[in-house]
């Protein structure tokens, strides 16, 4: 991958070279001694979201003691049996072989979270609850909050390739990267295709203009306070980030990529490796809203876990920014907006259900564990949030508890976004 000489950045023009050096580059990053794991503030997050409400039973199977027969209250997909890897259990079957392969290889890094109440059986509301822990439009989703409150300034704090995004009041941290238009905007090639076009500017000229725009922005915001000032600050910060990106686009190998999930995943990891983004969101393709036919789930899971195998393989053999591998720095979170009814309906489908299953992959979280629980009728059991294990005197696990834990794991004060919500400490805390 070619590493191009970066042009003089706007920041260097405006604030001087000292500020630029603070941001860091590949060269300076290499000088950082590699730590075994990233510190909380350095941790990066790749979110996958299965829009449509994926079936929660594959990660929370209900088989009898023989590992094959059904239990009352929950139907498992025909042809599936109990899969087991380490302490983890899941549904295995010929239609989802990659799922089994994945867990056999990566169970030490995997935590399955079961019985997560999303407080809704409607897609939109469940999605918002799952990702923000509330229904307020001013609440940012987990990746946005993690990115916006990162102690490190990333040019693209949260890169949304596809899937949902709730920017809340922190929209300045969000970059929507899907569709290819953003790449053409970044490299300036878009103007060659306009009906009335213009020659592309050279970087040096872009930098000069950026510097002038920045100076004007700085002056414009000088007499503003509060939210008005923060909007100008977002303008200035975004201007800085755009300037950083212009010089590093090809370095990240962003050109020529497709919208396929594996391509998007690799792109996300590459921008994380280069320190360009802290979080990314990618939609898991497939028809997960399986009212009419749940048999499509297995093949779709097969595809998705095939991607996860490649992603984990890449993470495990790619040097991190400050750690031996990217696996030490990147946490993968897989969610959907709710679960589906435990019993198959008359057309072999499953309808909406408020309890979901989630998957978290990380070398920095004790894996090979199952947190949360449901009973045979797929109703959540109360748990001790400190351990994540069932407890008669405990709490029903809500998506907000998981979100608070993720925020804390990322070094973000969850109280800012989830006032009074106790994190699922069993996921990432001392009890883990």
């Amino acid at each position: 991958m070619p590493i191009l000489q970066r042009p003089l950045s706007r920041r260097q023009l405006v604030k001087g070279a000292a500020a630029a050096a603070a941001w860091g580059s590949l060269g300076s990053m290499a000088a950082i001694s590699r730590q075994a794991h990233a510190a909380a503030g350095d941790r990066k997050f790749l979110f996958y979201f299965a829009s449509g409400a994926w079936d929660a039973t594959p990660l929370d199977p209900k088989f009898g003691s023989d590992g094959q027969s059904a239990v009352g209250g929950t139907d498992m997909d025909p042809g599936t049996t109990l899969g087991r890897a380490g302490n983890l259990t899941y549904s295995a079957g010929n239609d989802r072989l990659n799922m089994d392969l994945f867990f056999q290889d990566w169970y030490p890094y995997a935590t399955i979270v079961r019985g997560v109440d999303v407080h809704s059986v409607a897609h939109d509301t469940g999605m918002q609850w799952t990702l923000t822990g509330s229904t307020s439009m001013s609440a940012p989703d987990w990746p946005t909050a993690l990115a916006a409150r990162s102690p490190i300034a990333y040019p693209m704090p949260h890169l949304v390739f596809s899937g949902p995004n709730y920017p809340g009041t922190l929209g300045g941290a969000v970059v929507r990267g899907g569709g290819g238009t953003l790449l053409r905007l970044m490299d300036g090639s878009i103007n060659a295709t306009a009906d009335e076009n213009a020659p592309a500017h050279v970087w040096a000229v872009d930098n000069m203009i950026d510097a002038q725009v920045y100076r004007r922005g700085d002056r414009y915001g000088s007499n503003r306070t509060g939210a008005g000032r923060s909007r100008i600050d977002a303008f200035l910060a975004s201007l800085e980030r755009s300037q950083e990106l212009e010089g590093r686009l090809f370095e990240a190998g962003l050109s020529g990529s497709t919208n396929e999930i594996l391509d998007q995943s690799m792109m996300a990891l590459e921008v994380m490796r280069l320190g360009l983004a802290r979080c990314a969101m990618i939609d898991v393709p497939g028809i997960w809203d399986t009212h009419d036919d749940n048999s499509v789930v297995g093949p779709q899971l097969d595809d998705f876990y095939g991607v996860l195998i490649e992603v984990m393989d890449y993470l495990s053999r790619t040097p991190g920014v400050a750690s031996p591998t990217l696996l030490d720095e990147v946490t993968i979170v897989v969610m959907s907006e709710m679960g589906r009814t435990p019993l198959l309906n008359s057309s072999g489908g499953r309808d909406h259900w408020t309890y979901a299953s989630q998957l978290i992959l990380s070398s920095q979280i004790t894996g090979n564990r199952i947190l949360g629980a449901t009973d045979d009728e797929f109703l959540a059991r109360t748990i001790d949030l400190r351990t994540g294990q069932p407890s008669a005197s405990g709490t029903y696990l809500g998506t907000e508890h998981v979100g608070a834990a993720l925020l804390q794991f990322g070094g973000v004060d969850s109280e800012e976004f989830l006032n009074g919500v106790e994190p699922l400490a069993g996921l990432v805390g001392e009890g883990a």
Binding site: T135, D195, V202, T225, G228, R231
Partner: protein, 539 residues
């Protein structure tokens, strides 16, 4: 008024711990703010100068009244209401060939389809009709494309938009009869039109059932597992809290029910009077309006229009769009005042917008932790501002990049696509910076190339003070005049006498010229820098 009271005491707080600081707008800034909100463009320099000389209330209101008659106000109202209608999705829903429109670009078809309900908004606003007509009008709107797709009969010239009715004899109730509306908000299977009912409630009553907190008890969930779902929805108190009013609303829409094998355009876009009672087979709840029995779609429309929440919601929607934030309890006093003016003005949108933009709270903005005095232009507004100031329209394959969803540009600039991204992002982002940068780059180049080539010698668009031969050394005064002229013309605000921007503009020209050796490129860069000025992106 709450905000006014706060203005008188800058350190008072709107909510605990929140400091509210008034922002002193100059007459020019105030006029620009109103013009961008009403027309989506800046005022002319002549108007700005005149208002600067006479910044009286009467002068301000005269401008507002004039701009409310501008066709661009109609564009703005379409934009505001698309924010909640969300019909500009870029979808055709069916293959246009089914309607004999295979010769048309499907994007044109999608545009017409998405605009059908919004054209009714335009009709109502333009003709100073009461807002209730949005559900009471005995027609929708159509052009030749929607007429072909939806089997409409037009009352006017088919080359443009005119009132239209459908050939299937459906009851007419404004957008509640619109095929586009129900294609955008379909209902599948066991949903039984609840999705539709909720969107009617969301759009016209500002009451989104999906935003209501619902806590399912364990017994609720167990009941839903063991019993017939419709029985649970009806009888379980947790479920009934919403469904007791939602389901009777949904029962009005079974004439638009498509739970049929035939998936053709003609089958799925028509109204079936014979299905109006199908609610009996689904929710079992007869049509009513919050407990009051109703007699069909038109009766529903009448109840909606009579509901005080209908007017509340129209005011809230318009005000939130203009204020670029969700309203809070602190806005209640203002809301009540706007509602009174709206009502006394015959419920016309012109009366409502006039009330808002001439209010003290609008003309005396504040900054606080939650309220920003700085508003960000929408993609539509940026397009019209640049077009107005430079004559340049950023199009690709003859489609406006900042309006069409083809390339995803509106979303990148913080706008919506009416489908996946339905709420605006008012915070500038990296992607917004790139959009603004590339637009300014190409617009600046086109203007500079044209002006300096002599194509517009008699009336250059922007480079009126210099010639292609001038350099900072040969004609420094012309350069200073030109830079000042650019800032004045493009931002609407003149530079101070000793403003650093003058020298910075000249220096920028020199820097670019040193790299490109091209006066055109140098001036294009200077223009681009001013076109990206925060005073164009914000207002």
């Amino acid at each position: 008024m709450t905000l006014l009271l706060l203005l008188s005491c800058a350190t008072e707080t709107g909510s605990p711990g929140e400091q509210v600081v008034p922002v002193d707008l100059s007459p020019r800034e105030m006029l620009i703010r109103a013009s961008v909100d009403i027309r989506g463009i800046h005022p002319s320099e002549a108007d700005l100068a005149a208002f600067e000389a006479d910044p009286s209330d009467a002068a301000y209101e005269a401008y507002v009244d004039a701009w409310l008659q501008d066709d661009r106000f109609l564009d703005r109202m379409e934009e505001v209401w698309n924010g909640v209608f969300r019909t500009r999705t870029g979808e055709t829903y069916f293959d246009p060939a089914e309607a004999g429109l295979s010769d048309l670009d499907s994007r044109d078809v999608a545009e017409a389809i998405g605009d059908e309900p919004l054209q009714l908004v335009r009709w109502i606003v333009d003709n100073d009709l009461p807002w209730t007509e949005i559900v009471l009008a005995e027609h929708t709107m159509g052009n030749s494309t929607t007429a072909a797709m939806w089997n409409q009969t037009l009352t006017g010239d088919p080359s443009g938009w005119s009132p239209a009715t459908y050939d299937d004899g459906r009851p007419m109730a404004g957008v509640l009869s619109s095929t586009t509306f129900w294609q955008r908000y379909p209902s599948a299977g066991s949903n039984a039109n609840r999705h539709r009912a909720n969107n009617v409630s969301r759009i016209f009553l500002c009451d989104d059932y999906l935003s209501r907190p619902v806590e399912f008890s364990r017994s609720d969930v167990e009941a839903a597992t063991a019993e017939e779902m419709e029985d649970v929805i009806r009888d379980n108190p947790t479920c009934a809290g919403c469904h007791s009013s939602l389901d009777p609303l949904a029962a009005h829409f079974f004439g638009f029910w498509w739970d049929k094998e035939d998936e053709t355009l003609s089958a799925r876009s028509r109204y079936y009077a014979s299905d109006e009672d199908e609610w009996q087979s689904w929710s079992g709840r007869a049509p009513n309006y919050y407990g009051v029995p109703t007699n069909g779609l038109r009766d529903l429309a009448t109840h909606l229009a009579d509901d005080p929440r209908f007017v509340d919601c129209a005011v809230q929607t318009t005000l939130e769009a203009l204020q670029q934030r969700e309203l809070t309890d602190d806005d209640w006093t203002d809301l009540a005042s706007f509602e009174r003016d709206f009502a006394s003005g015959g419920l016309t949108m012109r009366a409502l917008v006039r009330s808002i933009v001439t209010s003290d709270s609008y003309r005396n903005p504040v900054d606080s932790d939650t309220i920003s005095s700085v508003k960000m232009v929408s993609p539509d507004q940026l397009r019209s501002i640049i077009l107005d100031k430079t004559g340049y329209d950023w199009t690709f394959e003859e489609r406006a990049a900042l309006v069409s969803n083809d390339m995803g540009m509106p979303v990148l600039l913080g706008g919506t696509d009416s489908r996946y991204v339905t709420d605006r992002n008012y915070q500038p982002t990296v992607s917004a910076m790139f959009v603004a940068e590339r637009l300014a780059q190409v617009a600046g180049y086109r203007v500079a190339a044209s002006d300096l080539a002599g194509e517009t010698m008699s009336n250059p668009v922007l480079l009126q003070k210099v010639t292609v031969q001038d350099t900072p050394a040969s004609n420094p005064q012309a350069f200073e005049d030109q830079v000042r002229f650019l800032y004045l013309t493009l931002t609407g605000i003149p530079l101070e006498k000793d403003a650093p921007e003058v020298q910075e503009g000249v220096d920028l020209w020199k820097q670019i010229f040193s790299v490109t050796s091209s006066p055109t490129s140098a001036w294009a860069g200077v223009i681009a820098a001013v076109l990206r000025d925060p005073r164009l992106l914000f207002y």
